[in-house]
Symmetry: C2
Subunit: 376 residues, 2 copies
């Protein structure tokens, strides 16, 4: 694997940044706008697909905070602007919630040019994107992520999905937004627990792709936790760049792209095992990264000091580093239905060197030892 462009330790000044995302032939690329004040800036909303109607999809937590301002901007571009609010939480990322979007679209006879706007976190982004991909076999959509996790992780890659009672993100589509508008000011309203959850995905990009970004996070973690705009702008931009670089080489997750799932195999098992909504996705990923770091060491891929380094950083970010005691058998059973599994064999994303990751199988009893050591 070639290395991603390098990170520098200094923090540049905050201003609107644009990360252009190129896609495979036959698909139009799009821009990620990152900065302060974007929600109220007219320029953010110009040049989007033309249509008679727009639908804002949000949830009952985010809508009261930002929907009116988004509505005011969209009314300049669409003759009809509607909104639908879904219940808030991973446990509602299901078909029943998705169907509320379709009920609304069809009851208002919305045509196949209608543009959907996802206003919220990763759950809203995933559901709105999936709804857009299948409504009339595809309408345009725009991401307006209001959580750190959604800004760093859902903005690139076109993965959309809902959960099934038997597995997380099992039903979905690869579908690209027309634009992503990541207004950093919306992070001011984020509960600290959600900020920490977002930092899990930020931290992830260091060990898998950029050792110097890992250094940068360690130096700047306090600024990120204090919501310093310049630090956030840099972190969001750098994560989007790295993810775009990875995805650009493997849009359909045939190989390299799977490294973005570092910590996610253990993490998804925690989420599914506890029931969606108990732990935040980022919390499960944070704890999952501790386990995957431990397994990387157990397989001799990384030196012993890598594990305490990762655990310390994840803990400093306000994330859990000890998993729930579901039992080793239950963990293994849950991980076998992971999308990366093949023919029943679990495949883990493990760190092979700082800034480099790959897929590995591991003996069940070694995985069990890791789980025993990191669950309580």
């Amino acid at each position: 694997m070639n290395s991603a462009p390098q990170t520098h330790l200094s923090v540049p000044q905050s201003s609107t940044q644009i990360v252009p995302i190129a896609l495979d032939e036959g698909q139009r690329g799009y821009d990620i706008l990152i900065g302060s004040g974007l929600l109220d800036a007219e320029s953010s909303w110009q040049g989007l697909p033309k249509a008679a109607a727009a639908l804002i999809v949000s949830n009952e937590t985010v809508a009261p905070l930002y929907q009116e301002r988004l509505w005011a901007q969209l009314q300049a571009h669409y003759a009809r602007v509607d909104a639908v609010q879904l219940p808030d939480g991973e446990q509602y990322k299901d078909w029943a919630s998705l169907n509320r979007v379709f009920d609304h679209l069809l009851a208002s006879a919305s045509d196949r040019k209608t543009v959907l706007f996802a206003l919220g976190g990763g759950v809203i982004g995933d559901m709105t994107g999936f709804a857009a991909s299948i409504y009339m076999r595809g309408v345009p959509f725009v991401q307006v992520p209001t959580t750190l996790l959604a800004q760093v992780d859902s903005s690139v890659g076109g993965k959309t999905a809902i959960n099934h009672p038997l597995g997380k993100n099992m039903l979905g589509a690869f579908y690209q937004p027309a634009r992503v508008i990541a207004d950093l000011d919306t992070l001011d309203s984020l509960p600290q627990r959600e900020l920490s959850a977002g930092l899990a995905e930020v931290i992830k990009y260091g060990p898998i792709a950029d050792a110097s970004f890992l250094d940068w996070i360690e130096v700047n973690l306090e600024a990120l936790l204090a919501r310093d705009k310049a630090a956030l702008a840099y972190a969001v931009k750098r994560c989007c760049e790295i993810k775009a670089w990875v995805v650009g080489q493997d849009e359909r997750e045939q190989g390299l792209r799977a490294i973005l799932n570092f910590g996610h195999t253990f993490g998804h098992a925690i989420e599914t095992g506890l029931g969606y909504g108990e732990w935040l996705h980022g919390e499960a990923v944070g704890c999952g990264m501790v386990m995957a770091s431990a397994l990387s060491v157990r397989l001799g891929l990384m030196p012993e000091e890598f594990l305490p380094r990762m655990r310390r950083l994840i803990e400093r970010a306000g994330l859990p580093v000890t998993g729930p005691k579901l039992g080793v058998e239950r963990y293994l059973e849950l991980m076998r239905v992971d999308k990366k599994s093949e023919g029943g064999a679990i495949r883990f994303v493990l760190i092979e060197g700082l800034g480099r990751a790959g897929m590995h199988a591991a003996p069940d009893d070694w995985v069990g030892q890791v789980l025993d050591a990191h669950c309580a």
Copy 2:
């Protein structure tokens, strides 16, 4: 619009025919196999995507007839072959039925290489294709159409969908099969009513794209109704060729492709208005083509004799030529949620000359006159 390759009136000998389907860049093309004895021919099943498991999706009517034979063939290629049966009928083309496929896939921990086989008519093909497109964001699938309608119409174009209570085929995806195996022998078990329904889609290709194919159908309709294999082979092949030619120029239905929906705007209104499953899809399309032909004449696009010619052929094929009395207002309301509508304006596919079609708006009162004249 350029004209499609021309049809000759003679019927060639029956043997296995292959229609190769080329797709846009970045997608692999696939073959449509058309002939007798294909289900039991080993060669039909060679060279498909490799996987640990295959799942046959069928319904309670078709499975007892052909599932065992398909199973026997697939066992040579997949370590595990499972089957799931859905209830039979358009009224079950919904999320609840689709979810039975996902329940089965997830309960058996089927991975993202699992190949789905659609064994049945258009409903099974549409649902299996849609399930394949969203399960783990996409697994391969193979069409094994057992109705004339599915063989001529679902084999090309990659349209998959389920119905929503407020509209037909409203949720779906463009997703291509790895192969289509159209065994003409399976048409022997088809009820006559279903054969007629399939003929509606066959007839459609004449007026929209190939005047000489319309002549051919008029000459060979008795042979088709008697299930003459050579006539069926030619009709299926010719329809697939024409559809591939249309779709190849417009895979995402931005323009030309919409002509394949001749008769479908009226037809979908009949289906939705009566409740899915009352009329067969092909019956509604047959009657819808009479109405669309009448509207083509009403708008001065076609000479008066075109309407009785179409009506006579559709009637000879065993299809209804008079629509249900839903009331003009109800028809208009139903047609306004059609996927081709834009900003609330209904757009009809009308015939502009024998073998040539295009999209047209029409005054509500003219549409009302057509409905009054063709409903009872």
